[in-house]
């Protein structure tokens, strides 16, 4: 008994010293990719001994902390606008890590499979279509016995990247939405009620017959929540899945990877998808990072877009397409320390 105790304390002491001796990278930002990041960072620590401390405080907080250089990298579900980029003391780069999606979840008696078009979706979320047995929903779902229930819209009450991707999509498909509401992490909803977090929205949908709301794909898949088949730009009704989300990113991509994937032109792509990025300074020599740490940070990013990708699917995130990986490689290679690239160019 006593011997065991000594053993345990020696081992834990050893672990602690090892913990403090090793390099620790600090990151903060988006909550949406947090399950994936924590898996990746855990595996990375076990393989390379580099500890990554990631705080999922929200994209906004992550970006602000990066600006103040209190973290080594930030993570965000929305890319920085030109205006926001100007506020940074030094230029930054966006490295895409995975593709996420937002699904439309609902609660109807018997949970039938539901198909919706963008225009019907907009009118539901604007409060124009008020009942489930509305003619326009019926036309799209002739085989479904739609009840005369009132539609209760549920949105995210907390500022979130999920809301950003969803409203970004609605802006692209409806001028009226763009003019009246716009896109953002928090917007002025015209109808419905707000719930906190994916879990809050799904809990509310689950217990309210007639409710409709938007949640992350990963969350919906893990919890077996039924979702809508949405008509995409190419005119196909697409079921959100890891595959159709991955396909959404299979389009021409810009070199800086700051692109919104919503309403994708990809034929089989799910239309409410979006990259999530890790944001770092292009020149890591900014006063707060040693060369050793900068090198480890770049190595970590390189690992995340290559070997790390295999953890995406298990956690219901979509891996990067080949095109996206190529672009991301170029971005990582462009990261420098005192003017010299950290990774060897080939």
């Amino acid at each position: 008994m006593f011997k065991n105790l000594i053993k345990i304390s020696v081992v834990s002491l050893f672990l602690f010293t090892k913990l403090f001796a090793g390099i620790e990278l600090l990151g903060a930002g988006a909550t949406f990719p947090y399950p994936l990041y924590s898996k990746m960072f855990d595996v990375y620590y076990k393989t390379y001994g580099i500890k990554v401390n990631y705080q999922s405080i929200g994209s906004g907080g992550g970006v602000r902390q990066l600006m103040e250089k209190t973290v080594d990298f930030g993570a965000s579900d929305a890319f920085l606008s030109d205006e926001e980029l100007k506020k940074f003391p030094n230029p930054v780069v966006h490295v895409p890590i995975t593709v996420g999606a937002v699904v439309i979840a609902y609660n109807l008696p018997g949970n039938p499979e539901l198909r919706l078009t963008p225009s019907v979706l907009v009118d539901i979320f604007m409060g124009k279509i008020k009942k489930w047995n509305d003619r326009r929903i019926k036309e799209l779902n002739p085989d479904v016995d739609l009840p005369g229930l009132e539609i209760i819209v549920v949105y995210r009450s907390d500022g979130s990247g999920t809301t950003f991707i969803f409203t970004d999509y609605l802006c692209k498909i409806s001028d009226e939405w763009k003019k009246k509401i716009g896109k953002g992490k928090s917007v002025k909803w015209l109808t419905g009620i707000g719930a906190k977090g994916n879990e809050g929205v799904s809990a509310f949908i689950k217990q309210t017959p007639g409710a409709i709301g938007y949640i992350e794909l990963a969350y919906a898949l893990q919890n077996n929540i039924p979702f809508v088949l949405l008509k995409n730009k190419a005119g196909r009704f697409v079921k959100p899945s890891v595959k159709s989300v991955s396909l959404a990113a299979d389009i021409e991509l810009p070199n800086d990877m700051r692109i919104s994937l919503t309403n994708t032109s990809a034929e089989e792509g799910y239309p409410i998808s979006g990259f999530t990025w890790i944001i770092v300074y292009r020149n890591l020599y900014h006063g707060k990072l040693s060369y050793k740490k900068a090198k480890e940070l770049v190595k970590l990013l390189w690992w995340m877009i290559h070997d790390g990708q295999k953890y995406c699917e298990k956690l219901h995130y979509a891996p990067l397409s080949e095109k996206a990986v190529k672009k991301a490689e170029k971005i990582i290679r462009s990261i420098v320390y005192k003017g010299t690239p950290i990774l060897k160019q080939n």
Partner: protein, 288 residues
């Protein structure tokens, strides 16, 4: 003598430190909300438009929601907390029943608010929804009434435990004098105990009101987070504390952040004034 002086100065410093901290909090809130004060001025209080995309901010719906839920919850909780206080302070001062009951009510104060939120979502919301279906209003389940009910349970221990202790302090000779004049128990409570302990009971009520006013997590989970003026007690709404908690982490625009802190400033000021007014009442009714 020397030790006495040292003790005195320690008391002085700690006391002063808290006054200083109070002022510091006020000024840092003022400083951070300056941008919003400059752009909206007094219209921040009177406008009911909250639109982070168009960068228009007004907190009237949140102010109304906060006052609505805290007063309603106070109203609901008052009969219960007073009954508990009288039961424990007058009828059963000792004994196992009293121990169990007082322990249980005090325990209510120790439950984390997120637990109350869950309880609200999974138990109360479906019940309210059924009620709403019966009377024919939109069956949201969440809203002002649900939030007030959750709050009222949360604040019962604050009012009841203080009132209980104060009622126990009513001098026994006064009570016995009442009985000897032939009063019934009800008359003693009404004419002697309540008037004697009024200021203390009021202080307890004030404390529970303050708790309802600033409660964040549990309210956010059951109020519906609807950023417009509530139309009835069944309508969803929002409170000042819950909008701050909801939007603070992802507020990237400076004016959005500043407006949220501006709400915090008002929350601070209003709480201060309610407490000040409450203290005036306590002073006025204090038995000399």
């Amino acid at each position: 003598m020397k030790k006495d002086k040292l003790f005195f100065s320690v008391l002085w410093i700690t006391g002063f430190l808290f006054v200083f901290l109070f002022i510091l909090i006020f000024f840092s809130l003022l400083k951070e909300s300056f941008l919003s004060i400059k752009s909206f001025g007094i219209s921040f209080l009177t406008s009911s438009e909250w639109d982070p995309v168009a960068e228009k901010f007004g907190m009237l719906p949140f102010l109304v929601g906060t006052l609505f839920t805290s007063f309603l919850s106070l109203l609901i909780s008052l009969p219960f907390s007073m009954a508990i206080a009288l039961f424990l302070g007058e009828y059963f001062k000792t004994g196992s029943i009293s121990k169990i009951l007082s322990y249980a009510t005090d325990l209510l104060a120790g439950i984390p608010s997120v637990i109350y939120g869950f309880w609200g979502i999974y138990l109360l919301v479906p019940i309210i929804r059924k009620l709403e279906m019966k009377i024919g209003v939109p069956p949201y389940g969440v809203g002002i009434l649900t939030a007030s009910l959750v709050l009222s349970v949360m604040i019962i221990p604050y009012a009841s435990s203080i009132a209980r202790e104060i009622i126990k302090l009513v001098p026994q000779d006064l009570v016995e004098a009442g009985y000897s004049l032939g009063s019934t128990r009800y008359e003693v409570i009404k004419k002697i105990i309540i008037p004697y302990s009024f200021s203390g009971i009021f202080a307890g009520i004030l404390l529970s009101f303050g708790r309802a006013f600033g409660e964040t997590m549990a309210v956010t989970m059951v109020i519906g987070n609807y950023n417009f003026l509530p139309k009835s007690i069944f309508s969803p709404g929002n409170t000042m504390a819950s909008v701050i908690a909801n939007e603070f982490t992802e507020a990237t625009k400076d004016i959005h952040l500043s407006s949220l802190i501006h709400i915090g400033l008002w929350l601070f000021v209003i709480t201060f004034f309610i407490n000040y007014l409450g203290n005036l009442v306590i002073k006025k009714y204090k038995v000399k």
